[in-house]
């Protein structure tokens, strides 16, 4: 069988091939890379980006963008830590409402979902471009986080909560389990439900999707809601890992997330891409970050390299579209 660079199998697996080559390259230069400790560490680190990126994938599949995920992560994480540690106080009613770990997690997810729904509402109701609407939310959510935390970390959240970010189950880190569950849910949503097909349809051709009777606004609302909730899950993982909610948590995470989506082969113009591709994209970014640290590359150069990788991914995506 004659396999060339233009072979469909090669095109379909280009992210995977890139990941393989990257791992090979780093392992040749650093003997610490291919150790189990390091690889688990990489997986643990990328689990946050995986959670955010699978939500972002749905948005990008719909030809949208969500720049607010980092800030939504920060606010959800802060509220999660805040209610867990301080509860809610109602002075006039002489009432203290305490939150269990489950309660704090659910609260964070609800906050994330509410912010995402708000994004979706603004985008659909006022026909504001997603870039602008979510950029506004980026600033609003970050400001609210600073107001809520007063710029001070909320720490000491207890061993039960810490377990989520630092614990192991069946020899696998808990964050990896959580991100895996999130991925499986979104893979199921995109591949096995009409909701998933609608997302692809809207991204492929919004007008055609509308004319075929798809309730575009409802789907958009739901997708932005899911993206917000996924960001909140990422926030819970970050906070539990550090056992502390940092006011600047999630700063510029949206960029890593968009990078993972693009590197994973999802087209920024919508309609094309997979969640599994995004996971590979997130792993590539994680491996790249880890490799550059192991190879003692200056942090400034790390940013340059990451930028070049994203640029290459977009160029390849454009070339693929042209060839089609």
């Amino acid at each position: 069988m004659n396999i060339t660079l233009n072979h469909p199998l090669v095109k379909k697996s280009q992210s995977l091939i890139a990941l393989f080559l990257l791992c090979l390259f780093i392992s040749l230069l650093s003997d610490k890379f291919m150790t189990s400790t390091n690889l688990w560490n990489v997986l643990r680190q990328i689990s946050v980006n995986v959670c955010i990126s699978v939500g972002m994938t749905l948005v990008v599949l719909m030809a949208g963008i969500d720049l607010s995920v980092g800030s939504v992560l920060g606010l959800s994480a802060a509220v999660c830590a805040g209610v867990l540690k301080n509860g809610l106080v109602f002075e006039s009613l002489d009432l203290f409402v305490g939150f269990t770990v489950l309660g704090a997690i659910l609260t964070a997810m609800l906050i994330g979902m509410a912010l995402g729904l708000f994004n979706g509402w603004v985008i659909t109701k006022f026909a504001i471009p997603p870039f602008v609407a979510t950029l506004a939310m980026l600033t609003i959510a970050r400001g609210l986080t600073m107001l809520y935390t007063e710029g001070i970390p909320i720490s000491n959240l207890g061993p039960k909560f810490e377990f989520i970010g630092s614990g192991w189950i069946l020899g696998i880190p808990v964050p990896v389990w959580i991100s895996l569950i999130m991925v499986l849910i979104v893979v199921f949503l995109t591949n096995k439900t009409t909701f998933g097909r609608y997302i692809y349809a809207i991204g492929g051709n919004e007008k055609a999707a509308f004319l075929s009777g798809i309730s575009i606004n409802k789907i958009k609302l739901a997708v932005y809601g899911i993206a917000g909730m996924m960001a909140a899950v990422g926030g819970i993982l970050v906070t539990s890992r550090l056992n502390s909610a940092q006011p600047n948590a999630g700063m510029s995470y949206e960029l890593d997330s968009i990078a993972a989506v693009v590197i994973g082969g999802t087209s920024l113009s919508g309609g094309v891409g997979t969640v599994t591709g995004t996971v590979i994209g997130a792993i590539i970014i994680g491996v790249l970050n880890n490799g550059l640290v192991l190879l003692d590359v200056s942090p400034f150069w790390q940013q340059v390299v990451k930028g070049i990788v994203i640029l290459l991914a977009v160029i390849i995506d454009k070339m693929n579209q042209k060839n089609k």
Partner: protein, 203 residues
């Protein structure tokens, strides 16, 4: 019929999650329990008398010249801050002559630093606690408790230190003083600095 079962199941899930998510207590009981566990006054006394009074402080003159030459290192070495941002609290000491007293605000002509204000009326916020660098957020269960330390430290300054020490000084006196100031990395050092005092002594 199928929908009805789905709603009932959904409601049951929500109720179960809700029941396992929150718990309710009387606020007065929670407050009482917190108070019983920790004596903020004794803690603040120990921080002030054993820590703040005895700690070595940078002189205001040295701090301002270091700020001009190398603000990053100065912030790291002498500044204390809890969160992020470009501002930090510093515990400083200096000397000067009282040239004006207006509504609790003492204007000091500092030989090296020009005019410095000492605020003896509005002792609020976290300046003393944070500038001391002795109180860690992680030592407290809640942010409210952490803030309570500031209240207790401010009480010491407001009720004990200032009335006792300020009664001995008058306009024209030369004094030595120490206290907390807040500076930002891009601080215009020509602007007047206001000190929240931790000690004022007649020279």
């Amino acid at each position: 019929m199928k929908k009805r079962y789905a709603y009932i199941l959904g409601l049951l899930i929500v109720l179960t999650l809700g029941y396992n998510s929150v718990y309710f207590k009387k606020l007065s009981v929670v407050k009482a329990a917190t108070k019983e566990n920790f004596d903020f006054k004794a803690y603040a006394d120990s921080i002030y008398y054993k820590g703040i009074l005895k700690s070595k402080k940078i002189t205001l003159g040295d701090l301002t010249s270091l700020m001009q030459s190398n603000p990053e290192t100065t912030f790291e070495k002498y500044g204390n801050r809890l969160g992020i941002g470009n501002s930090a609290y510093f515990m400083i000491q200096s000397t000067g002559k009282i040239i004006d007293i207006t509504d609790g605000l003492y204007t000091i002509a500092d030989e090296k630093n020009g005019i410095v204000y000492i605020d003896t009326k509005y002792i609020f916020g976290n300046a003393i606690r944070d500038a001391s660098g002795l109180v860690k957020l992680t030592d407290f269960k809640t942010n409210a408790q952490f803030n309570k330390v500031s209240e207790s430290l401010n009480d010491i300054i407001r009720n004990d230190v200032i009335p006792k020490e300020i009664s001995k000084v008058k306009l024209g006196d030369s004094i030595s003083f120490s206290g907390a100031i807040k500076l930002s990395k891009k601080q215009n050092l020509r602007e007047k600095i206001t000190v929240i005092p931790s000690q004022i002594k007649l020279q």
